[in-house]
């Protein structure tokens, strides 16, 4: 070991700051991000966050496919909560067209988006705990997520890349046995979440690593454009679902949990409480929703049923025109925003009246978080990078697009 230590003439260890390249292949960096860290001993003096390792050209790709064909791409933005992205994109296109989905559709979209949010938070919290050595909590979280994924699979047909929403509706209504199945899953997930609380909330090691680490003030967080749980952990209660209720969120009774210090522990608590609130919202959806169509009665937006496509020339033509030319979106531009797992997910769309987006810009919540991430890291120890970076839940698919 001794030959790699640099010794000065006086025989002391070199005290000059050390530059360290952390990532992108560091396990805690998800393979999708790199940090250039300047260390003074164990203390992080300066951090430069380098993103772009998962850039796929999402926005450019959208310009060469029809409005509907963008849907699978949105699954791959924040791939931990794809349904939030599906809903956000559909709402943007619908806003541009000037239509609103049916009431039942909005209830179903809310249920699915909230269950996606729960999965998002479970993944983040579980992985954060694992990175600190709390492997049991991780297994509990992933088991809970697995339950929800299995349920989601019965609805969307896929575990991860759901592509469930359609412009003007959904792939399908909820399956007939959804509610009883959901109740079983809910009970199990709630019990697992309670176990996680028991494992982590007052765990000495967890508290030492999380409390008063990676703090930020609400003012600074707003200046960086932070949204979502990271902003709310600082004490600001901005949540798109409350600040500008979309779909049916004004009908639901739910709280927006906020922290006080904006440290890792507050972010953990906010996420755990949001899981609870999401369950409350889903409960209310199930109580309020009534039978009805999930798709708009608009042949210009939605494909005809398959028996009509294969059994009548009318259905064949409608199917052909929508698939080949794409749905026709009137010229114009729109910004539409939703509260996704990590904060405000915005879509800025421009249409020139053709079957394809002229521009599809995404405002990913992670992007802003990465701009200000260094402030959460600087002044703390190098070992704190792992829990702090874990607690902001950076998702490369969404950040880099």
């Amino acid at each position: 070991m001794s030959e790699i230590l640099i010794e000065t003439e006086s025989g002391d260890l070199d005290s000059a700051p050390m530059n360290l390249q952390m990532g992108p292949s560091h396990p805690a960096m998800h393979g999708t991000i790199k940090m250039r860290v300047k260390l003074d001993g164990e203390i992080v003096q300066k951090t430069e966050v380098e993103v772009g390792y998962l850039h796929r050209g999402f926005e450019k790709s959208c310009e060469s496919v029809t409005w509907s064909q963008v849907m699978p791409y949105t699954d791959r933005l924040n791939y931990v909560s794809p349904l939030c992205n599906n809903v956000g994109y559909c709402m943007a296109v619908e806003k541009l067209i000037g239509v609103r989905a049916t009431e039942r559709c909005e209830y179903v979209r809310t249920i699915m988006a909230e269950s996606s949010r729960i999965c998002d938070h479970l993944t983040c919290v579980g992985a954060s705990a694992m990175e600190l050595g709390g492997f049991t909590a991780f297994l509990y979280a992933i088991e809970a997520r697995e339950e929800l994924w299995r349920l989601t699979e019965t609805v969307t047909g896929a575990r991860l890349t759901h592509s469930y929403c359609r412009i003007g509706g959904l792939k399908d209504d909820l399956p007939v046995d959804f509610v009883p199945n959901y109740r079983v899953v809910e009970k199990k997930v709630r019990s697992l979440v309670a176990d996680m609380h028991a494992l982590l909330d007052r765990n000495r090691i967890f508290l030492d690593r999380m409390k008063d680490v990676g703090s930020m003030t609400a003012e600074r967080a707003l200046q960086w454009g932070f949204t979502g749980p990271v902003l709310r952990s600082t004490g600001s209660d901005y949540d798109v679902r409350k600040a500008s209720p979309y779909m049916l969120y004004d009908r639901f009774d739910f709280e927006v949990p906020v922290g006080s210090k904006g440290d890792n522990y507050d972010r953990y608590l906010v996420r755990m409480e949001e899981i609870e609130q999401s369950f409350r919202i889903i409960d209310q959806c199930l109580k309020q929703m009534k039978p009805g169509p999930v798709n708009l009665e608009d042949g210009r937006l939605l494909l005809p049923p398959k028996d009509e496509v294969y059994g009548s020339i009318e259905g064949t033509i409608a199917h052909f025109k929508i698939i080949m030319d794409g749905i026709q979106v009137p010229p114009g531009e729109v910004y539409s925003y939703t509260e996704a797992g990590n904060g405000e997910l915005g879509f800025y769309l421009v249409s020139t009246g053709e079957g394809r987006p002229y521009k599809c810009r995404v405002r990913p919540p992670c992007w802003s978080l990465m701009q200000g991430l260094h402030e959460l890291l600087e002044g703390y120890q190098i070992a704190d990078i792992v829990p702090t970076f874990g607690s902001v839940n950076m998702i490369g698919g969404e950040c880099d697009r």
Partner: protein, 525 residues
């Protein structure tokens, strides 16, 4: 005299005799139709263009009825929309579910009109009516009776444009069917235009059938090079191959039509192509680089004065001809210039076809004046006045140059080209930008569609390379630049650029008219 009416509340003044449909289109209101075509008579049989009129208790066929003074026409009321849905329900009633296997899908007026104006589901509870499918109306055209909506555009085309009247409708009602009259054959030289005219997939080109889905193809605006008419065409290509030609509307040249020979000429585009430069080494032709071939050209041509003949082909585009003129003026001073051409045909009519099978003979005349032809060349070679021939374009025969040393730049490798000392590969008109001047003096632009075949070079560029080998710079760097330079030197071409030629082209000399004589006009611009 104008007629005043209102269309959807908007005051419109049109010439007397204008149909309501045309007046509405002029005012920006699209009226769906199947049977109406601007180049044909109006039978008003599809009923798709019905509109409301204030002087009629019932809706009127807008393609047929002329605008009447003071009448309000409505093209988009709920009543009219309801009618359109009803008409489309009738038309689609027995229509087969063929989109997936139909060549027309993607450019089908029935698909477009149904999607834009109906979207009503089928209410047919019984089986569909069946009719003959895949019937060969001729060796060029395949007919599908089930897809036909009996708009009779094809029948009217044969009656009114081709004036051969081979087609008719047999039976009545839902049994109606397009058929060739007994004792006749559908062999008029314009028959394939009915494929484009057919708004659905009932008449398909046997040649194009099942070859390529239309949405895969890219399209450029081109000009047919098969006769001196120079019909405006669309060149559809896919994966570097020309898939078909279609007529392109140009009222100055070909209206909406193109002859069958011209349409099918894409199939011979690559026949016997010269793919790379060839230099004859003794008796053996050897493939060479372009530079090596040009070096040989220099050795053969430099310093031979009036023993050199430059033979320009009437199939070259204006840009190549202009480069050739500069070549003679600068690098081959004293060379004699001759014109070669494809042999005349005998099928000229008063529709489109011309006996002169060269797309740019007029261009040669404008750039070089009246040139001696290949008979004169033959005599000059025989007399020993010409010992070296630079043939630009392969439309000369071996007899024309018997005894001379020949350098041939050509698209196709004819026997005469194969016998040449040096062979240089030329691009076809599908591979580069350029322009042709038709027999009536209409200069039309054609665009590059596919990538050059082999090592083929555009005419203007090849001539520039020859000049450079001979130590002269023709100062041409693109086809567009060549036309601009030509426009500066040749008064007839004044003001012409590839962009200003536009889709329909311009008449020779039209750029010279700086200002039209001031005459009071009735209509505002």
């Amino acid at each position: 005299m104008g007629v005043n009416c209102k269309i959807n509340g908007q005051p419109v003044t049109v010439e007397n005799g204008t149909s309501v449909l045309e007046a509405a289109r002029g005012a920006g209101f699209e009226v769906p139709h199947f049977c109406w075509h601007p180049g044909l008579s109006r039978p008003a049989n599809c009923r798709m263009c019905l509109v409301d009129a204030s002087n009629s208790p019932k809706p009127i066929p807008s393609c047929y009825i002329g605008v009447a003074e003071g009448v309000d026409y409505t093209t988009d009321s709920e009543h009219v929309r309801e009618l359109r849905r009803a008409i489309l329900e009738f038309i689609l009633l027995n229509h087969p579910i063929d989109c997936a296997i139909c060549d027309q899908a993607g450019e089908c007026e029935l698909q477009n009109n149904y999607f834009d104006y109906s979207l009503q589901s089928s209410r047919l509870a019984t089986d569909k009516n069946h009719k003959p499918k895949a019937v060969a109306l001729s060796d060029k055209i395949t007919f599908d009776g089930e897809r036909c909506i009996v708009c009779t555009r094809c029948v009217r085309f044969c009656d009114e444009v081709a004036k051969t009247s081979e087609l008719g409708v047999k039976n009545r009602g839902e049994r109606s069917e397009i058929a060739v009259f007994p004792g006749k054959t559908l062999t008029n030289p314009y028959s394939m235009n009915i494929v484009d005219l057919c708004p659905v997939g009932a008449l398909t080109s046997t040649d194009f059938r099942f070859k390529c889905r239309v949405w895969f193809m890219s399209t450029v605006e081109s000009v047919c090079d098969q006769c001196s008419r120079g019909c405006a065409i669309y060149l559809d290509h896919h994966k570097g191959e020309v898939m078909r030609y279609r007529p392109r509307e140009n009222r100055q040249v070909n209206d909406w039509w193109v002859c069958d020979n011209g349409r099918m000429s894409y199939t011979t585009l690559h026949d016997e192509r010269v793919l790379a430069p060839v230099v004859r080494d003794g008796a053996k032709p050897t493939r060479a680089t372009l530079d090596a071939a040009l070096e040989r050209v220099k050795v053969l041509l430099a310093g031979r004065g009036d023993k050199v003949a430059v033979v320009v082909s009437a199939t070259l585009d204006n840009e190549a001809l202009f480069a050739a003129r500069r070549l003679v003026d600068q690098a081959l001073k004293g060379a004699r210039v001759f014109v070669s051409a494809r042999a005349d045909g005998t099928d000229q009519d008063d529709i489109l076809l011309r006996n002169d099978k060269n797309p740019n003979r007029k261009g040669v005349e404008v750039l070089f004046g009246v040139l001696p032809d290949t008979a004169a060349l033959r005599a000059a070679v025989a007399d020993g006045d010409v010992t070296h021939v630079l043939a630009l374009g392969g439309t000369f025969s071996a007899d024309d140059v018997q005894g001379a040393t020949v350098i041939a730049a050509s698209v196709h490798a004819t026997d005469a080209v194969r016998a040449a000392e040096v062979v240089l590969p030329l691009q076809s008109h599908a591979e580069h930008d350029g322009s042709f001047t038709n027999f009536a003096g209409q200069v039309q632009r054609f665009q590059a569609g596919i990538a050059p075949v082999g090592e083929a070079v555009a005419g203007w560029e090849l001539v520039s390379r020859i000049a450079r080998a001979l130590g002269h710079d023709l100062q041409l760097s693109s086809a567009g630049g060549a036309l601009k330079a030509l426009a500066k030197e040749q008064p007839d071409f004044t003001g012409f650029t590839h962009i200003s030629l536009g889709a329909t082209g311009r008449k020779l000399g039209s750029g010279l008219v700086v200002e039209a004589p001031a005459e009071p006009t009735a209509t505002a611009p």
